[in-house]
């Protein structure tokens, strides 16, 4: 579904990703794990078009999407839940959801999608008039995911959804990801927390210092856990 090859990207003259390749099949959950500063967020931002790559190609459903602006990529069906949630704190929950469906002009379809979201996240319906800055961390993460789902994406990119959440809440988020997969959504899950990510994903890539260090099925990688931690630490020093 998504095919990345030889991707080089970064900020201005600084190169962060050094020619990496990966693919995701329809319906899969693929984890991208790696230490802080490895370039995971940069990878996701490049996919959605916030950053224009220096080199390489990104094919989504056999169409090239590199160097396209975010609105184009979103329209093709890829939505990103950014790191640190970044809900619009001064907007109400409902307004955040409306922003998520910014490209949807048909108001009855928008209404339907909001009902669907409220089914999925009853908490958000209860609080739909509340300013989202006043929600708890877990609720904000739900809102961030809900907002991304408002555009009816085919593929969802999640950047460290468990960051800064209490373990109980992390469970909720994991359940949510599982139920989204059942609905047929393809998911890229970026995490620093290796075990949690591997438990729910099908395959995984280990990203260290801007290159793919290891890849394979999640169960394989879980078995070779020790090696993987070496790959982590080996680069950190």
């Amino acid at each position: 579904m998504l095919n990345i090859s030889g991707l080089t990207s970064g900020y201005g003259p600084v190169e962060v990703l050094h020619g990496l390749s990966l693919y995701i099949n329809k319906g899969e959950i693929v984890a991208v794990i790696g230490p802080n500063g490895a370039g995971k967020s940069t990878l996701l931002k490049t996919i959605v078009g916030l950053i224009s790559p220096q080199n390489g190609s990104i094919l989504f459903q056999d169409r090239s999407i590199e160097r396209q602006p975010p609105e184009y990529v979103l329209d093709r069906g890829i939505a990103l839940v950014p790191e640190g949630r970044r809900v619009f704190a001064g907007l109400t929950v409902l307004e955040n959801l409306h922003m998520g469906a910014y490209l949807e002009r048909d108001s009855s379809r928008k209404k339907k999608q909001i009902d669907y979201i409220y089914d999925l996240f009853p908490r958000l319906e209860e609080r739909h008039q509340q300013l989202s800055g006043t929600l708890s961390g877990g609720e904000q993460q739900q809102l961030a995911i809900a907002r991304a789902l408002m555009s009816r994406p085919k593929m969802l990119l999640l950047d460290e959804p468990s960051l800064g959440l209490a373990p109980v809440i992390v469970e909720v988020v994991i359940d949510l990801i599982n139920s989204l997969r059942k609905e047929g959504l393809t998911i890229i899950l970026v995490e620093q927390n290796i075990h949690q990510a591997l438990e729910i994903s099908d395959r995984a890539y280990v990203l260290v210092n801007g290159s793919i260090r290891m890849s394979g099925s999640a169960s394989q990688l879980l078995e070779t856990g020790v090696d993987m931690e070496k790959a982590y630490l080996g680069e950190k020093i």
Binding site: L50, A79, P82, F88, Y102, L103, G133
Partner: protein
Amino acid sequence: MTIEVAVQQLINALSLGSLYALLALGLGMVYSVLGMLNFAYGELLTVCGYTMFLLILIGVPFPVAGLVGLGMAIGVSLLIERLVFRPLRGASFISLLFASFAASVIIQNLIKQLISKRPKVIPVPEVFDQMINIGPFQINVLSLIILLVGLVTLAGLVAFLQKTRWGLAIRAAAEDFEVTRLMGAKANRVIALSFALSGFVAGVAGVLWLSRRGAVSPTMGFIPILKAFIAIVIGGLGSLKGAVMGGFLLAFIEVALMVMLPTRAVPFTDAFALMIVVVILYMRPEGLISIKTGS
């Protein structure tokens, strides 16, 4: 002070306040979306003023001239965005500030060269100077007009920002520009929209400002932008609500000083007002409404 005078001063303060609030909202709109101060904002009022001056000179009635002036302010605002700020997308705060500073000097000098270096008088409709009686109170017509137009424009803008899809995008961009792009809003379009709105507000404020002043000059934009700048800083840079509040607060401080200061100190009103503003900022370095706490 009699109750009549107090009410008159109150109306003055409200009228001046709605003008300052408009000015601040226009400057704050671009600041909150782009994170930059547009120093050429004052020149939008100048452009509006000179358009009106030229039209009135050839016999166009005041209200029509005002509308065309308003349109020019929007046009020039968009032009500045396209020619100066778009090539500098992503530049630092200080670079953008200098660029807008330069744009303002260019516009001023163009006016000096194409029209005149000297101030010019604009004949305003006579009814502006009249007083009307409402109950026991005598109130200046122009103050009432400014108050009304100011409040209606503010209400219209608030409705636009609250109720429409584009308004929502502007408010979202004011919070987090990058995520707004992620939601599918085109960056250039949101920015251009904020400049258009900013130009619109400057145009309305320009017509009102001219009605008060009755004259145009190439450097007339300095005072309005100064007031707008002060107002948005008092309000808390980046908050649209704060900009409006800051505008009213500044007007109340000024009117209060004008009423209370002894005659000998009147030339120093501006200095005193600024001193009070600096004291407010000293006590609340983030302004009245801090973005970070979101309160």
